[in-house]
């Protein structure tokens, strides 16, 4: 091996070695996707966004420690089974899940959640026929509320 080929090879190897760990997260599933898979039993890509689910949250939250959110839906209650709330970029994306029964009358749930940084909030409803519908809203957080 001459000097020129040795130099190019080592340069390629160096670039490869340094770039590999940085690229890794792009190939592995994100925390949110893992969590959704674990809790719902389906992949996030199979959950469809639907205008039938209404998610109310502030566009800008002053404090991430207290973000009021409300989930409402006009889907009849006897067709709905469960509700989940996820925050994409929180250290643990799963916030809460609510099992609903016909005694609830309608889909309405409101609470306050913590957010570490600006990210999407997702409300996912599981319907009796096994399908999932979702509403997403981005909330800008000026001061994080985790830890």
């Amino acid at each position: 091996m001459d000097r020129r080929r040795f130099l190019t090879l080592s340069a390629v190897a160096m670039v490869g070695l340094t770039a590999l760990p940085a690229l890794k997260p792009a190939f592995g599933a994100s925390k949110l996707e893992e969590e959704v898979q674990k809790r719902l039993g389906v992949a996030l890509s199979q959950v469809k966004e639907s205008p039938e689910v209404k998610l109310t949250a502030p566009t800008i939250a002053e404090s991430g420690a207290n973000v009021p959110i409300t989930v409402e839906s006009d889907i009849p209650i006897d067709k709905v089974e469960q509700l989940w709330i996820f925050v994409d970029k929180n250290p643990s994306p799963w916030i809460t899940d609510v099992k609903l029964t016909p005694m609830n009358g309608r889909v309405f749930f409101s609470t306050r959640i913590k957010m570490g940084e600006t990210s999407n909030v997702r409300a996912i409803l599981k319907l009796k026929d096994g399908s999932f519908v979702m509403a997403t809203k981005e909330v800008k957080v000026t001061a994080g509320g985790c830890g």
């Binding site: 420690a65 207290n66 973000v67 409300t70 925050v87 929180n90 250290p91 643990s92 799963w94 916030i95 809460t96 899940d97 609510v98 099992k99 609903l100 029964t101 016909p102 005694m103 609830n104 009358g105 309608r106 889909v107 309405f108 749930f109 409101s110 609470t111 306050r112 959640i113 913590k114 509320g145 985790c146 830890g147």
Partner: protein, 108 residues
């Protein structure tokens, strides 16, 4: 207020078949497990895990939660009432604490 104290609020009176709003506030720190940045020690998690909403001892909803819910959680949920009765919430945390709270509602 001591940890676990709850306030449960429902309308005093409602019409038959009306969908009411059940509101509750529970005093709880809702701490996630984390490392203290100053001392480096691990602070264990301390948060509510489960809350059951019952009406006349029939299960209406089960709410599972983690430390992602704000401290002193506020929760509002809809419920349909067909008869007078007692609304009860039963909640527990990850350190074995269990509490209950009831409220009455008159339905005409």
């Amino acid at each position: 207020m001591a940890v676990g104290t709850g306030i449960l609020r429902v309308p005093k009176e409602a019409k038959k078949g009306e969908i009411i709003r059940v509101q509750m506030v529970i005093t709880h720190p809702m701490n996630p497990a984390r490392k203290d940045p100053q001392t480096g020690q691990t602070v264990p998690a301390y948060h509510l895990t489960k809350l059951d909403l019952l009406f006349n001892d029939k299960l209406v909803s089960t709410i599972n939660m983690g430390a992602g819910v704000s401290a002193n959680p506020f929760i509002a949920i809809a419920m349909k009432v067909e008869e007078s009765g007692v609304v009860k919430i039963a909640y527990e945390d990850n350190k074995g604490g269990k509490w209950e709270k009831t409220a009455e509602i008159k339905v005409s």
